[in-house]
């Protein structure tokens, strides 16, 4: 019931080759190729409708690629349970009757197996994951009682309980206040020490430049991929964001892009 494929660790943790995806007769992703090294933190930046969520869902193995491929450690994502997709907070039913610990335990289901019930060691795993994200005290809360930042931390804990090696986070910073954003970015730093590879979709160029190893600039096509200094060039930003970008005299980049979902 639950496939597990072996990781070819001499291959990149993620290798995307000539990926094209059509969504309702429209090209959502067009001939994308890139690869990631284990432990990297990458920001995926682009306007609404740039295909960020689509890219993540193909990499997670939830959407099939139209053509081309996405490989995780040398094989298609469909056999891996080491990829975590963290949903946008607006996509979640926060009134669902589950506690924080229940949600984090969901991450361990692939490990429990068919007809398996959580054992003591699984609950210990869940509580360690909650400790890592600083949420141990809130483990019995209903999920609707959490703040935005806590909701995001809970999903990171769930990905840790899943023993994910590749975390795909869809707009985790959207709608959070500044302290919550900073806390989350710090936590992403901790994840690197655990060897977790992180891809984060974001609108915020400044944060992308400050907190991530590389930036992937996306607008259906891959506009640029590299360190911030290389990617955040005016002509590349205009290619990604079109007329919605303004660069003021101080060199500060402003994106006129109000809405936070694809």
């Amino acid at each position: 019931m639950y496939p597990h494929v072996h990781h070819q660790t001499d291959r990149p943790i993620l290798e995307v080759q000539r990926l094209t995806v059509h969504y309702e007769e429209r090209r959502a992703l067009d001939d994308i190729s890139f690869h990631l090294h284990a432990g990297e933190r990458v920001a995926v930046v682009g306007p609404n409708g740039a295909g960020k969520s689509t890219l993540f869902k193909v990499v997670a193995g939830v959407l099939p690629p139209g053509s081309g491929s996405a490989h995780v450690y040398g094989s298609g994502p469909g056999g891996h349970v080491c990829i975590a997709y963290l949903p946008q907070r607006s996509q979640v039913d926060w009134r669902f009757p589950v506690s924080v610990a229940d949600v984090v335990m969901m991450g361990r289901i692939a490990k429990l197996g068919f007809l398996g019930w959580p054992k003591k060691s699984d609950w210990a795993f869940v509580h360690r994951a909650l400790e890592t994200v600083g949420m141990e005290a809130l483990s019995r809360r209903q999920i609707g009682e959490l703040s935005g930042g806590q909701q995001q931390r809970m999903f990171i804990a769930r990905a840790l309980a899943q023993e994910a090696e590749l975390m795909l986070m869809d707009e985790p910073l959207a709608g959070l206040d500044a302290p919550a954003q900073d806390g989350l970015l710090l936590l992403l730093g901790d994840l690197r020490q655990r060897g977790v590879t992180v891809m984060v979709a974001t609108h915020d160029l400044e944060q992308a430049a400050r907190h991530f190893d590389r930036i992937l600039l996306l607008n259906r096509r891959l506009v640029a991929f590299g360190p911030a200094g290389e990617v955040l060039q005016p002509e590349k930003l205009v290619a990604a964001f079109g007329g919605r970008i303004q660069i003021d005299r101080a060199g500060q980049v402003l994106v006129d892009d109000c809405c936070h979902d694809d």
């Binding site: 019931m1 639950y2 496939p3 869902k57 997670a60 193995g61 939830v62 469909g78 056999g79 891996h80 349970v81 990829i83 975590a84 997709y85 949903p87 979640v92 039913d93 669902f96 009757p97 589950v98 506690s99 229940d102 949600v103 335990m105 969901m106 991450g107 289901i109 692939a110 429990l112 007809l115 019930w117 209903q142 609707g144 769930r158 899943q162």
Partner: protein
């Protein structure tokens, strides 16, 4: 004085139990209530109330054909209901996945068409008004011993499957994308859940009829939803509300002389109303 009152109350409760049909009716009401409530928790959380209502109505032509072929016999009807419900449930599931029209529109079209077909078939029989009302609104006091046995077997089966796949059903209901990344067989699990709703509909048909079915699926679960924040508590509480409503409803029906299905549903609705008002007051204070 108090002793006399206690005896009086006991007599009120025990008198109806002298009749075998009341004993069977109470047993059926409790079983149907518990199964509907537990399965109904998923119906409520997944927003499938309309699907449940439609599915219940869609089995009418199957039941009608069984009724004609069996010459009015009641026992075979359970099997006809079960077969039609499972087929309709998986069929509606397949059609709505096609995605050419909106899901609720597709369900609406099929549901009304099948329901009309069922009424057409039953209306070819002369005494149809009485029998039709049993199919529509239930006839819990007409449950036979054999009927009760099959209710118990299939209701128990539904509860067993829910216990076995508890964590899987929880994930496909809360976060289907997570279910897919954990490589759960999401389509298969969805179909199992649809089949469970179908079995529940067949089990409950004789108790509340196709028209009141949705109340048994939704009302106790919704009442419990207002009170708890954990799924397993919601299921247990919903089952208690449903069993309580079944028993109280039947007694009310016995003493006041109103239709048993509607008495059960009205009791459940009253519970929901009370809990809703109390919770709203608590939240505002």
């Amino acid at each position: 004085m108090i002793a006399a009152m206690t005896i009086e109350i006991l007599n009120y409760l025990l008198d109806p139990l002298e009749y075998a049909f009341m004993q069977r009716g109470l047993a059926a009401a409790v079983m149907v209530g518990v199964v509907c409530a537990v399965v109904g928790a998923y119906v409520v959380l997944r927003g499938m109330a309309f699907f449940g209502d439609a599915l219940a109505h869609t089995i009418l032509p199957g039941v009608a054909v069984g009724y004609l072929l069996g010459g009015g016999a009641r026992e075979p009807l359970f099997w006809w209901a079960l077969g039609t419900a499972v087929a309709a449930s998986l069929g509606i599931g397949a059609i709505t996945r096609g995605g050419r029209i909106k899901e609720d529109t597709a369900i609406g079209v099929i549901f009304a068409g099948m329901f009309a077909l069922g009424i057409a078939i039953i209306s070819t029989v002369r005494s149809y008004a009485v029998d039709l009302s049993h199919f529509l609104f239930g006839d819990i006091l007409g449950v036979t011993g054999e009927g009760l046995l099959w209710m118990a077997v299939f209701g128990g089966l539904a509860l067993l499957v829910i216990a076995a796949f508890y964590k899987e059903f929880l994930v496909i209901s809360f976060d289907p994308v997570l279910a897919a990344t954990l490589r759960l067989p999401v389509a298969l699990l969805n179909n199992i859940l649809l089949a469970l709703i179908a079995i529940t509909v067949a089990v409950a048909m004789q108790a509340v009829g196709v028209s009141l079915m949705v109340a048994m699926l939704v009302t106790p679960a919704a009442t419990a939803y207002l009170l708890t924040r954990r799924l397993q508590h919601m299921m247990a509480l919903a089952a208690s509300f449903a069993a309580f409503s079944g028993v109280v409803g039947l007694y009310v029906s016995y003493y006041v002389g109103i239709a048993s299905g509607s008495a059960i549903v009205l009791t459940a609705t009253l519970c929901f109303g009370l809990v809703y008002i109390l919770q709203t007051k608590k939240r505002n204070s």
